[in-house]
């Protein structure tokens, strides 16, 4: 069964076997405001746990996303290219990147712990 976990930098990962879909938390999308551009990583790109691996842009600023796991990019959500606002509208539904991972970040926490973190 798929398991949902969060980073303290507000990414979520929905883990299913050795694959994980990654998105932004509702708290993060609220803090960023309207997203207007998502710079999707290339398919096959290597990603490292806890490291910045892509950018999202709001009207006012660019923000880095940190990867919750080490592995490589398996798929990207191309719908977001034309409609980045989907992340604002449905942050838990709009996955951004799917990765195949070797290892998850030690930093991941449960949804309950994440909710405590953001208060």
């Amino acid at each position: 069964m798929a398991k949902l976990m969060f980073t303290k930098t507000h990414e979520w990962i929905l883990v299913d076997g050795q694959k994980g879909k990654i998105g932004l938390s509702d708290y993060a999308q609220k803090q960023l405001g309207d997203l207007v551009f998502i710079e999707l990583p290339a398919l096959g790109a290597k990603v490292a746990a806890g490291r910045a691996f892509m950018n999202v842009e709001s009207v006012k600023a660019v923000s880095e996303l940190n990867c919750p796991a080490t592995g490589f990019v398996l798929a990207v959500n191309n719908d977001l290219e034309a409609a980045p606002e989907k992340v604002n509208q449905d942050p838990m539904g709009a996955w951004i990147v799917e990765i195949e991972f070797e290892s998850l970040c030690d930093c991941l926490m449960s949804e309950d712990d994440y909710k405590k973190l953001i208060g």
Partner: protein, 357 residues
Amino acid sequence: MKKTALYDAHIHRGGHMVEFAGHELPVRYENYGVIAEHNAVRKAAGLFDVSHMGEIIISGKNAETALNYLLTNDIRGMYDGQVRYSPLPNERGGAVDDVLVYRYNSEKFLLVVNASNLAKDAEWIASRLPSDVTFDNISENIAQIALQGPLYKDIMVRLTVEEELPAKYYSFKDNVAVRDVKCLISRTGYTGENGYELYCAGADAMKLYGYLMEVGAELGLIPAGLGARDTLRLEAGMPLYGHELGEDIPLSEVDLGFAIKMGKEDFIGKTALLSHVPAYCRIGAKVLKGIAREGDKVFCGEVEVGTVTSGTHSPTLGFPIAVLRVLNEYKDKPLAASVRGRMLELEIVPLPFYKKA
């Protein structure tokens, strides 16, 4: 950090407060966001707190002559109740600031200046006026609210009689009663839409803001923050001090010829501007993919030819736009902005990006 007279209204309405030019101001509001606020101004109306702006009164028999020497635009021949835009030049032909000049009469003018430059401007101007011209920085006691958008007049006529309102673009009326609040109202703005800017005593600001929201809400009026103010002015091709204008950017390079009157009598920076051959120009570009922002370098092939002075996603046009400062000889060549190691292709387009219908 200073709070404006409308601070409580912003908190009450869910404003995301940020520091801007020493003031705590809303960048956007919780229930709307930059894009919704921007669109409200283009389609209905938005209400901005611009109380951080500075206001300076210049008066005296020789006020007009003294002021004209400090400005690049020519303020002679304005009518009472007229507003004019002008850069405030330095000796090198760069800009100390850019300001609005309000003429009450030939011996009394109001200057509205950028908040970030107020202290600098006050010193610059006060030290360059003859002793018979009076300088009065009244910024502390004045609140300013900008009502911007196509429904601007529909909203104001619910609060005052139409004859009391300034009719012409870039004109103003003083002592207008907006219900029980006395205001100076001008037909000005920084959004590329029609609108009014209302000046009142700080103590009356909450009341005035409340009246506007009360009658405007059903017409679609919503509060708008600094984020929308920036995307709106950028679409309208209006320069922002610190981005397109600065002490070291010659005014001959910023496409503001309409406000620089080389034919008038001597003014500060005139000699420098006369002898200066413009090397750079200010132009607009559409970014084909991705967003280029202030400070990103502009290239033509391998050659660095300028910088992005402002850039964002344009909510009205639906694509990213940027204002560039590039060397003249490259303005018709293929250009790209270097953004985090990627080259983003630019397509030069005429300014302004957006013009109201």
